[in-house]
């Protein structure tokens, strides 16, 4: 068996739909207990990858191993270990919530004696206990999404694969789902697909960014943020002496470019905490009257746009 610390191992995964290549030699690993964000614009191949990992469809070439089991040689062992929430929650409108979860737990091969306990736990974690006797078709979209999430966790799987779990929810419901993910962290390995960056920032340890079926970046969040920060900008707004300050800043080591327009200065360089300190010191020495100092591109948003617009 391969290294057990990698609970998901994906090697050279390729999937063609006719002539169209949805994913192209994708390889990555997920460690046990990790929360990984699977990011990409719509149509990047996120859903296809998740469908292959869950054994829903077969890849054209490549290999997927879950906890050491090959998805296509031991599909049952793999499927028992995965809780999957597809884009559209797979719920039966004409069943009541509790019966539905009972059905899913048994379908996932949970022993009969454990079913009632696990159903109660899933209801409680997703805060569905109040609506457990209601027909699913009469529930609101947010509740239905929660039922979908409850179905993913009801068999207490090692791995949770969630395909855009917060799409179409109102901000309060999004916050609730995030709180739930925080709760599940640690007891499950979570792979979360999304095109919403704040979601990854809020919940994930690591992000895998894909575009056009290929991985364009794979790093921890700080790693990704630093990557762009390494060569980025700082905006300064001062009250007076802007030209003196600009000249002083040009002499600071680490600064590669200074641009001044009126009372605003744009400094480009390899930004580090040291450099930022030096810049603020220079502003004080020149008595420029520092009003504002901002780092506009610290967000994941820019990395995302930069990485995914190269294709």
């Amino acid at each position: 068996m391969a290294d057990t610390s990698n609970i998901i191992e994906i090697r050279e995964l390729t999937k063609n739909y006719g002539d169209r290549r949805a994913i192209d030699h994708l390889s990555f690993n997920v460690k046990k207990g990790e929360v990984v964000g699977f990011l990409g614009p719509n149509g990047a191949g996120k859903t296809t990858t998740m469908k292959i990992v869950t054994g829903f469809i077969a890849p054209t070439t490549g290999e997927v191993k879950i906890a050491g089991y090959d998805v296509f040689e031991d599909p049952y062992e793999v499927k028992r270990r995965i809780g999957y929430l597809p884009e559209t929650p797979p719920v039966y409108g004409d069943m009541i919530v509790a019966d539905y979860l009972d059905f899913v737990a048994r379908l996932k091969g949970v022993e009969s004696s454990r079913v009632p306990g696990l159903v109660a736990r899933a209801l409680e974690k997703t805060q569905l206990t109040d609506v457990r006797k209601r027909l699913i078709q009469n529930l609101s979209k947010g509740y239905r999404q929660r039922v979908g999430l409850a179905q993913a966790i009801v068999s207490d799987p090692e791995i949770l694969i969630l395909d855009e779990p917060t799409v179409g929810l109102d901000p309060r419901q999004v916050a609730e789902i995030r709180r739930l993910l925080q709760e599940l962290r640690g007891s499950h390995t979570i792979v979360l697909s999304t095109h919403i960056l704040s979601e990854v920032q809020a919940t994930c340890d690591r992000a895998i960014i894909i575009n056009g079926g290929r991985i364009v970046a794979e790093d921890t969040l700080t790693g990704l943020t630093n990557r762009l920060r390494g060569n980025s900008q700082i905006h300064i707004r001062v009250r007076r002496n802007a030209s003196d300050l600009a000249q002083a800043l040009e002499r600071v080591s680490g600064v590669t470019e200074v641009e001044m327009s009126g009372m605003q200065i744009r400094v480009q360089g390899h930004l580090s905490d040291d450099l930022i300190e030096k810049i603020s010191e220079a502003a004080v020495q020149q008595r420029a009257g520092l009003l504002e100092m901002t780092q506009p591109d610290a967000g994941l948003e820019n990395i995302f746009i930069e990485l995914t617009s190269q294709h």
Binding site: G55, F56, P75, K79, P86, G93, D94, M95, L107
Partner: protein, 255 residues
């Protein structure tokens, strides 16, 4: 086995508690009640006639009333069973619950067989309703129970075939309406398949037609005979359509 029963139980419960099932049951009972009354009246007046003509040999209930009833039941089932089966797979595809089934540790065979059993169970409920008509005729007239049971056993096997066909039609498409249409067409084909070549001069065409003719097999059951060839025909053709459905379910993993 556990998964088969689990899926069968869920689907059976879902269909039997659906408004569609109640509407179809109501429709069937209305048609059967009206027709059965007509058949009984015809039988009564014919018996009266033959008595008045002084003939000793009366007509048998089995060959007149029950046979006519069975053909009406068959005709109604050809159209209504696909309507009940249409949801089995196509609805799952439409609602995306198919994703749940295919990502659960169950095989395509479990899914196909489970759904077939659910469909067959539903068909059996409907057939049981139709059985009540001849059964209660016992209050008015005396007849041989065993012949009636054999006849119903035959038509029960036929509904298994219809259920399998309905399941197969449902596995094709996301559209319930389309699967209803395909199901009805297939049922009609099955019913008429044997009729077309039956009168052929070529020996083997005639005998093949005879073997695949559902009507010919039912005639044996009507006479109170259970022939091995008929059993083999119904069981194998039902299994064939369940197998085809299983292939369609399996194929979605490879697309």
């Amino acid at each position: 086995m556990r998964s088969i029963l689990l899926i069968a139980k869920k689907d059976f419960k879902q269909v039997v508690t659906s408004p569609l099932f109640f509407v179809i049951c109501a429709f069937c009972t209305i048609v059967w009640t009206i027709m059965y009354r007509v058949f009984l009246q015809q039988f009564a007046s014919q018996s009266m006639m033959s008595m008045m003509q002084g003939s000793q040999a009366g007509q048998s209930l089995m060959n007149t009333v029950f046979m006519q009833h069975i053909s009406v039941v068959n005709l109604v089932l050809i159209f209504t069973l696909p309507a009940l089966m249409m949801r089995l797979i196509s609805e799952e595809k439409k609602l995306h619950t198919y994703d749940l089934l295919l990502t659960s540790p169950v095989s395509s065979t479990d899914i196909a067989v489970g759904k077939f059993l659910a469909g067959f169970g539903i068909a059996t409920v409907l057939l049981f309703v139709s059985f009540l008509y001849p059964a209660f005729t016992r209050i008015l007239a005396d007849f041989n129970w065993s012949t009636l049971f054999v006849l119903y056993f035959g038509i029960w096997l036929l509904t298994a075939l219809y259920s399998a066909v309905g399941l197969f039609a449902s596995s094709f498409t996301e559209s319930a309406l389309l699967s209803l249409f395909i199901g009805v067409v297939f049922n009609l084909l099955i019913w008429f398949a044997g009729q077309s070549g039956a009168g052929s001069d070529i020996q083997w065409v005639a005998s093949v037609s005879n073997y695949i003719s559902v009507g010919q097999h039912l005639v044996h059951f009507l006479k109170g005979m259970i022939k091995i060839s008929s059993l083999v025909f119904f069981v194998s053709s039902t299994a064939f359509f369940v197998f085809l459905s299983q292939r369609v379910v399996e194929s979605s993993r490879w697309r």
